[in-house]
């Protein structure tokens, strides 16, 4: 109550601004982003097929129980974990190396500029272009195999006997492409962080006789620890959505669901029809699980990072 009486009332002109812009935006936003969350919960307890007007028969927790018994769901969970783990490890490491190389290394300024331009480029390319190109690289008759053949000097006919990288190691290929297009963002964040470290710290370290490695461990790394943590949190909290966006065009879960991820699991049941039927109720139950996982993941990570910030 006291809080409310402290806050000054909005003037008439402020109120109309709020009603003309703020409220409609919020309403549209809630319709698109919030209402579906409730729809998902409601429909997850039914066997609805997604045809408007057909009845939704309540089935209790049957959908949830079925999901937890479905081995494909665990494959999806495992793939999400594996891809995220590779992303976390390699994107952080690569971004760190790139950021140091593009700020405090002996590369010339022109080189740094070119690298900075090129290494960020994958971040802005359309996902369709990225996936089609890498698919054509890792296919059985793809560019990688033909490159290997041309190195060994054998005839193209041997190609039939070669591995199809994307079919045999889909999760590795997915992780590779995810890292390929995910590193640029983290690199830029870390470059900015390193540039914010006061130069005097490096000068002092040099006076103390610290070599480049010592400078890295004693000045650079402690100076950007907060941003490294941010980058890692960012990778993990965006991973569920970005895995879906990547896997759908790249492998679509193939071969035989081995490369599916949780987002795609929901997508396949809800939005594609096998035998002309989508199991929307079932998909919604999976979506609710995904919603909880995503919320807990993002929320706890965000809490962790802001808690640490306050302590600093």
């Amino acid at each position: 109550m006291t809080k409310r009486s402290h806050s000054p009332r909005l003037s008439g002109s402020q109120r109309s601004f709020l009603w003309i812009f703020g409220v409609p935006t919020l309403m549209v936003y809630c319709f698109v982003c919030i209402v579906p969350l409730f729809c998902a919960v409601r429909d997850s307890f039914t066997d609805w097929m997604g045809i408007a007007g057909t009845p939704k028969t309540p089935v209790g927790f049957a959908n949830y129980l079925e999901i937890f018994r479905d081995p494909v769901f665990y494959t999806a969970l495992k793939n999400d974990l594996v891809i995220s783990f590779f992303k976390l490890l390699l994107i952080t490491a690569l971004a760190l190396v790139f950021a140091v190389a593009l700020t405090r290394s002996s590369l010339s300024n022109t080189e740094k500029k070119i690298y900075r331009y090129m290494l960020y480029l994958p971040t802005v390319l359309p996902i369709v272009v990225i996936t089609i190109v890498w698919k054509l690289v890792f296919e059985q008759s793809g560019a990688l195999n033909s490159f290997i053949l041309s190195l060994s000097g054998r005839e193209q006919a041997v190609m039939m006997n070669m591995t199809s990288w994307i079919a045999e190691n889909p999760v590795t290929v997915i992780s590779f492409v995810a890292i390929w297009c995910g590193t640029g963002y983290s690199m830029i964040v870390l470059i900015a962080a390193i540039n914010n470290i006061p130069n005097e710290l490096y000068e002092a370290a040099t006076l103390d006789g610290a070599g480049e490695w010592k400078q890295f461990t004693n000045v650079t790394l402690p100076g950007i620890l907060g941003q490294v943590r941010y980058v890692m949190v960012y990778i993990i909290s965006s991973t569920l959505a970005s895995n879906l966006n990547l896997v759908l065009p790249l492998t679509n879960g193939q071969p035989g669901n081995t490369s599916t991820v949780m987002g795609l699991y929901v997508y396949k049941y809800g939005l594609t029809a096998e035998n002309g039927i989508s199991r929307v109720g079932y998909a919604n139950a999976a979506a609710v699980i995904l919603m909880i996982v995503s919320f807990v993941l993002c929320y706890s990570l965000n809490r962790m990072i802001s808690g640490k910030e306050e302590k600093r």
Partner: protein, 278 residues
């Protein structure tokens, strides 16, 4: 002596490593460009070779024969519509969150916060059937609204963070001079946060142009396909990979132009974004 030898070695190792990474990034783009001038036979016989004949015809075929011109136009429409909506929604709501104090503001913030934790793409199934129940699918205008709205949470807190830093004295002075909220917003607030808004809108434009999953779900008539969906189906149906590659290059041009022009602003924006959040 020993240390400096190690140093030089390390320096060269770093150079070689960076060069390999550069090639890995550049290769797909260059390969795409070269392959877009080949025909299927040439592509199959040696995917890595430089084309013997430069077939510009591939571009004409992709653009006219494969309907890419239509998809391009759809995407352009989508991008412009989304960007305008997004700009208006983002800037006004950020201003309200930054400078207004009212009873339900906490609830409003909470709404935007929740969706930041649950990306819209993951909720595509319930979202689709919600829109389907009122017949709002397969419609580019609806897709614009969805695109504009789902990218709000990620940037709203950043922009309102910047607006919050603007000194209230400016606004009070303007109010005393008789300016109303709309004038304050457009003449004081907007010019002061131009860089961060610019960065957000550029990001939104590229994101809309590149988006795939939601468009695939919501758009079903071929004449409404945006470029990304058109290319996806083109890749599945067209046997001649040269033409597909030409299509991909055409789809790349707008992002490459934008990135080339605004690389600096985009990269500075990324670090500013992190500065507020982190």
């Amino acid at each position: 002596m020993k240390i400096s030898a190690g140093k030089i070695l390390l320096k060269w190792l770093l150079r070689i490593f960076m060069l390999i990474c550069l090639l890995l990034v550049a290769f797909p783009v260059v390969w795409l460009l070269l392959s877009s001038f080949k025909n299927q036979l040439e592509f199959m016989s040696d995917p890595m070779a430089v084309p013997q004949v430069w077939r510009f015809q591939n571009y004409v075929t992709a653009w006219k024969g494969m309907n890419l011109s239509q998809y391009f136009l759809n995407s352009l429409l989508l991008v412009v519509g989304t960007a305008v909506l997004y700009f208006v929604m983002l800037s006004t709501t950020s201003y309200i969150l930054a400078k207004y104090r009212f009873r339900l503001k906490g609830a409003m913030q909470m709404c935007y916060f929740v969706a930041m934790m649950i990306p819209a793409v993951l909720m595509l199934t319930p979202m689709y059937y919600l829109f389907d129940s009122i017949g709002w699918t397969d419609n580019l205008i609806i897709l614009m609204v969805i695109y504009a709205v789902i990218s709000l949470p990620a940037s709203i807190f950043m922009v309102s963070g910047f607006m919050g830093q603007i000194n209230d004295a400016f606004l009070e002075a303007a109010r005393l001079d008789g300016a109303n909220e709309f004038q304050i917003f457009s003449r004081i607030i907007l010019p002061m946060v131009k860089p961060v808004l610019f960065f957000s809108v550029i990001g939104n434009i590229m994101g809309t142009w590149n988006e795939y999953t939601i468009a695939l779900t919501f758009i079903s008539s071929p004449e409404k396909y945006p470029v990304s969906i058109g290319l996806h189906f083109m890749e599945n149906s067209v046997g001649d990979k040269g033409i597909v590659f030409a299509g991909l290059v055409i789809a790349l041009i707008p992002v490459l132009v934008l990135y080339g022009l605004f690389q600096k602003q985009i990269q500075e924006g990324v670090s500013a974004d992190e500065g507020v959040k982190g």
